[in-house]
Symmetry: C2
Subunit: 144 residues, 2 copies
Amino acid sequence: MAKTVFKATAEGQDGLTMLCKARDFEIVIDEPPELGGNDKGMNPVEALLTALAACKAIVIKAFASKHRIKLNSVRVEVEGVLDPDGFLGLNKDAKIGYSEVTTHYYIDADNTEEEIDKYVKFVEKNCPVKDSIVNAPTMNYVIK
Amino acid sequence: MAKTVFKATAEGQDGLTMLCKARDFEIVIDEPPELGGNDKGMNPVEALLTALAACKAIVIKAFASKHRIKLNSVRVEVEGVLDPDGFLGLNKDAKIGYSEVTTHYYIDADNTEEEIDKYVKFVEKNCPVKDSIVNAPTMNYVIK
């Protein structure tokens, strides 16, 4: 497919509520009341974990048969540790974003433990969202 | 607030469709037909850009008055460049995730250009999703 441009937009609504769009798909991102929001949707750091969990799970499904994984079902849970005191400006030593992210793979497949271990190594290397985090892209911005 | 754990789950549905949850909020992540999906939701790399756009826009709204920004409205658009041939296994030289991400800030505020420039610099440094990408967290996984 060669280089492709993906896009997303966030538009401010009431308070911290954001109406977000990518192609024809809309989701609402917000913050819980304790972070000043209207609690109308998951917050951005949860959306980041959602993107990561979904990406890993999609890679698992998409490449299973090629890797001879007889997949029955998959669920991916991701947990991230973040200290809000960082971005709230309450603790200058606290990291602004996640300090640690752990993925729990629940894979039901008619394969050996060794085969599943090997397949998860492949998934960890070939997940576009994970790669975008651990091998950060060049980041630019423009003010309009 | 000290260290807080945020969570998200992706559960495989039909084909590549993923039902994703964070707290009580659900979104569907999928792939477009050309990437083998059912096209029932934005895809993971679009969800990543959505998280980034929403996070920047929320930081803009949340800290505006503290920084004396008289904000009327905000919209953040994010574009990412990614070559699907990487994760599709068609080109071993292609990066798996995004190679470049550009943010377009549309800020309507009763402030000077210089004040807005300075504020965007603050936003770029204090966005938890951006920090999670440019200063990657430790990444672990467990197979269950």
